[in-house]
């Protein structure tokens, strides 16, 4: 059970059950769909960007606990950040969940650290990064559906 507890940390279970910013954004400046065909995870990420600043982030959709919690934590983490800061956070997060050597220390990560267990489950990396890939696509002004396959 220890690896499982590491994967399904309390923060993840909590965000899965009570996702933050889980709604549409009527005055969004962009919205992009993200899809993981392997397991059918499907989310829409809404952004309200003013110049370089991400003023509002929200999401809707459905998927596994890892993908939903990740979308929830992503939305509350990047809110108020600049586009560049959000990119850096994704970079850091990606290193964390893929277990890349020299990855970030837990101290740098705040709530994102809850996803450290994902690196032991390679099949779940796509779940954890789906919302982030979708966010990146929205920040780049793309309208196409994002697929993690």
């Amino acid at each position: 059970m220890s690896d499982l507890r590491e994967l399904y940390q309390q923060v993840i279970l909590d965000h899965n059950k009570n996702p933050r910013n889980f709604h549409e954004l009527p005055d969004a400046t962009s919205r992009v769909d993200g899809y993981n065909p392997l397991c059918g995870d499907h989310y829409t990420v809404y952004l309200k960007v003013d110049g370089q600043t991400i003023e509002e982030v929200s999401f809707t959709g459905n998927g596994c606990a890892i993908s939903k919690a990740s979308a929830s934590v992503m939305s509350s983490t990047v809110k108020g950040k600049s586009k560049d800061e959000a990119e850096e956070l994704f970079d850091t997060f990606h290193k964390l969940v893929t277990g890349e050597a020299g990855g970030p220390s837990a101290a740098d990560l705040g709530r994102l650290a809850a996803f450290s267990g994902v690196s032991e489950f390679p099949a779940r990396v796509k779940c954890a990064t789906l919302a982030w890939h979708t966010l990146r696509s929205a920040l780049e002004g793309k309208q196409d559906k994002v697929s993690t396959e």
Partner: protein, 414 residues
Amino acid sequence: MSALEQASTTYDVARIREDFPILGRQVRGRPLVYLDNAATTQKPRQVIDRLVRYYTEENSNVHRGVHYLSELATMEYENARGVVQRFIHASSEKEIVFTRGTTEAINLVMQTWGRTNVGAGDEILISAIEHHSNIVPWQMLAQEKGATVRVIPVNDSGELLVEEYERMLNPRVKLVAIGHASNALGTINPVRRIVAAAHANGSLVLVDGAQGAPHLPIDVQDLGCDFYAFSGHKVYGPTGIGVLWGRESLLEEMPPWQGGGDMILSVSYEQTTYNALPYKFEAGTPNIEGVVGLAAALDYVSSHGLANIAEYEHGLQTYATKRLLEIDGIRLIGTAREKAAVVSFVLEGVHPHDIGTILDQEGVAIRTGHHCAQPLMLRFNVPATGRASFGLYNTREEADALVDALHKVIEVFR
């Protein structure tokens, strides 16, 4: 004693398990509980040894050389065709075409029979519980020809609405393409009745038998269908080999599919004469190891008897269903009266993908996802399901292990 109990006393599952080396291994430090047989089955030593023997003693190209090994390989290859013919009770070996699998067999029919016989305004009927491999080829054909694919609905148990189907038949329907058994729900379709109505309407019937061949005795003449396709790897044989059976008169009329060696009688730059059945549809050096391995698999299955296997698996499925329903929050997707060896389920509050990961930690392998049947998931209003699918070597203890592992899921999530 009921018939079921009688069967289970003569069906020696412990001995069968010994034939499958992989069942002895551990995963994640636990004994493997392999319940993903609808995706692919494990292989008995009889099949593994056959592949080794082929490459150790028999390897050569077929239908080409006059030397000893070529004659031997050709003989084994053609003997295998006979094994397939007897397995599905076809009237002639000429009706057995080797393909890469069910998908390729369906695409062969689509590209040859379909392109010749389906035109603008025509209709192809499929059911609401088809695998993508029996949806997409027909959509491609419809798009190319200006035809329409129409979907026969199912009830909430996952059973085909046969009367609705009969009402959908009309002179424009050229083909009914239907699964023998559903990979996602296990529903066994009433193929004989479907065929009778189609034939009365002048329509042909293709049966996707990928989930039929491993679980049901197959008699294509009794079913009455026009095409039957199945895959070797789902019936304990190798991957990359499958079978298209078609009525000889239909196959004769169909244009060849791929061009190349073996499918010709003579070639000149002015004119090529095509080979006779079934070689007309087998261009290029075939998957010889796959064919001899498939024959070994079918011999293996036949040695236990499809009827015995079906009865044993039915008992297992009934037991697993009962045990699963003891779990709070479990809902079964697909509760047809006629079902084959599949239990598809959702657990309230937990996404199937999370279930799959946690079960895997317990050594229990099931499929989680949309099972290559996305429209079906939409029909039942679920994004995905967990699916335990049984094979001839599974046991009640393994069904218990599945239930125990699901309790672990609940422990993590509640």
